[in-house]
């Protein structure tokens, strides 16, 4: 099965029943399979007029109670940015699958890239939290799509699944578990009386229990600054409280949200930090290095945002050198550098020609890093 197809099966098993989207390479298989399967589950597939409408319509459907998703790629993802911010601010859970392609602009439409690392984090205007998950296999396309819906529903926030052309089109075996073995999280419902109900009122967990339209509760959902009632409220304190709470509900739950994978020996001289498809090259590089007697490991960031600060710091603290290979000119590496209070040499390895970084390229970087470590050590004595 293809990665893109696995996303659709994941969405359906997570309970998604609404898709709104606009076809774009290399994500279109997600639309095609959704169009075929959703009616079989009493769901609706809608091909919208553009990506602005696509994200808007799934936000609407989610507000009406349907778990909803869309899929796109770079240019379409750019068009979705305004309403991505709307969903974050109004706390409407959606899942957005972005199968990254080479950019900027139309560029190489059929080739992979990881150029949207920062667009996924900061593409919409204003301060905002976001959750971004990064699959590296067909199995994870399925697993992480379910997880994306679970996190979206639990924290009432859009979750982005950030794949790339290779992961989206790659075919591998997929194991689909029994439905009753899956953990499926649904949004919490209010227990307050209908009279005087305030949809954006929160308890300690900072997560509002907003029911969908169609219950006895009256719900005001707003893209403008709003108080607990959901009605517009422009007081400075209201604006400040709202955005700080949105951040808190994610930051205070990083232990639940952030997932990483460690690969190779626990302690290593050289550590690689990688995302998505590139981590597959990195895994091969780790194995090849082991065969050569070199000490190399990999930290794979399954959750790309919020960033795995603690785990990355641990790597920076222990390793003699860190390599960050990515299919862009160095986006994730900036985050690694941000956390580098240990003066650990950090090497960026970039590729932006539409091909993926090979294990050989990483091996060369490992050797370069080790040589420099050796040389610095020799100089120091």
């Amino acid at each position: 099965m293809q990665g893109n197809e696995a996303c659709v099966y994941g969405a359906l098993d997570a309970g998604a029943r609404f898709y709104g989207g606009y076809p774009i390479t290399p994500s279109s298989e997600i639309a095609e399979l959704s169009a075929e399967l959703l009616p079989q589950f009493d769901g609706v597939f809608l091909q919208m007029e553009d990506e602005i409408g696509s994200i808007a319509t799934i936000i609407g459907a989610s507000a009406a109670g349907k778990k909803s998703y869309t899929a796109t790629s770079g240019p379409g993802f750019s068009l979705m940015q305004e309403n991505l911010g709307m969903a974050i601010y109004a706390e409407v859970p959606i899942v957005l699958i972005n199968i990254q392609r080479n950019g900027p602009s139309t560029a190489l439409a059929t080739r992979p890239a990881q150029g949207d690392v920062m667009q996924a984090r900061w593409g919409t205007h204003g301060d905002h939290p976001i959750i971004v998950l990064c699959p590296d296999s067909v199995q994870e396309c399925y697993d992480l799509t379910i997880r994306a819906f679970n996190l979206a529903e639990k924290y009432r926030i859009p979750v982005i699944l950030l794949g790339d052309e290779v992961i989206g089109h790659m075919r591998e075996s997929l194991t689909i578990p029994e439905l009753d073995k899956l953990e499926i999280i649904n949004r919490k419902m209010p227990s307050e009386p209908v009279e005087g109900f305030k949809p954006y009122k929160t308890e300690q967990d900072d997560i509002p229990a907003i029911p969908p339209y169609g219950t006895e509760y009256i719900v005001h959902i707003s893209s403008s600054c709003h108080d607990e009632s959901g009605y517009s409220h422009n007081a400075p304190q209201t604006a400040d409280n709202l955005v700080r709470r949105l951040h808190r509900k994610i930051e205070n739950n990083k232990a639940d949200i952030v997932q990483v994978e460690w690969f190779g020996p626990i302690d290593a001289e050289v550590s690689i930090i990688a995302l998505g498809v590139v981590s597959r090259s990195a895994k091969q590089a780790v194995i090849d290095a082991q065969k050569k007697g070199l000490s190399v490991n990999l930290l794979r960031l399954i959750t790309q945002w919020p960033f795995a600060d603690d785990e990355v710091r641990e790597v920076l603290k222990k390793a003699k050198a860190v390599i960050v290979p990515e299919l862009n000119l160095g986006q994730a590496v900036q985050e690694v550098e941000r956390l580098n209070s240990f003066n650990t040499p950090v090497y960026s390895l970039s590729r932006i020609d539409g091909e993926i970084i090979t294990p050989t390229q990483i091996a060369e970087k490992i050797e370069e890093a080790l040589y420099k470590c050796q040389r610095d050590f020799t100089k120091s004595i």
């Binding site: 059929t110 080739r111 498809v277 597959r280 090259s281 294990p359």
Partner: protein
């Protein structure tokens, strides 16, 4: 053979069934309990542009999903041949269509008249079964009967016969 990781590249032109061929091969491997990863590289043309399909088959976990050390490259177009001729190892077989590709006399070049043979068979769409037969003869990545099984599971009866015939022909005529 147990520990061997095979890398097969199918290169040619969009519409030649290269992706389907790769998927068929990968499915046969999965049927035998092996791991398989299939990827593709294609342009913006659906028909007629350069296209390639890559398959990795192994008993072990497959990490890097692309063929960086191919065992065999099938070249059904000149572009496919030229793209790989300079970058593959000397041991890598390049199996090319001698009707459409001008080869460069590499040691492990093997020509076969795929275009002419498929015309003889009378169904151009069976070309992927033809080349898969030849690929299997040169690289025993899966048993031919596994591949035939995949075809039986996926093809309608009326075209299955010609595909099985193409598979056998491709297998028998290559040495």
């Amino acid at each position: 053979m147990a520990e061997k990781t095979w890398q097969i590249v199918l290169a040619g032109t969009g519409g030649q069934g290269l992706v389907l061929g790769g998927v068929t091969l990968a499915k046969a491997a999965v049927l035998e309990g092996k791991n398989a990863v299939q990827t593709q590289t294609y342009g913006i043309q659906s028909r007629g542009g350069y296209s390639q399909s890559e398959v990795i088959i192994s008993d072990e976990d497959i990490y890097f999903p692309k063929c960086d050390r191919p065992d065999l490259v099938l070249a059904l177009s000149q572009q496919g041949y030229d793209r790989y001729r300079g970058i593959v190892s000397d041991e890598c077989i390049i199996l090319y269509d001698q009707d459409t590709v001008k080869n460069n006399n590499r040691l492990h070049d093997i020509g076969y008249p795929f275009s002419a043979k498929i015309m003889d068979l009378g169904n151009e769409k069976a070309i992927n079964s033809l080349f898969l037969g030849s690929v299997l003869k040169l690289c025993p990545v899966v048993a031919k009967k596994s591949l035939a099984k995949v075809l039986e599971n996926s093809l309608p009866a009326k075209i299955l016969v010609v595909n099985l015939k193409a598979l056998d022909l491709g297998y028998e005529e290559i040495s």
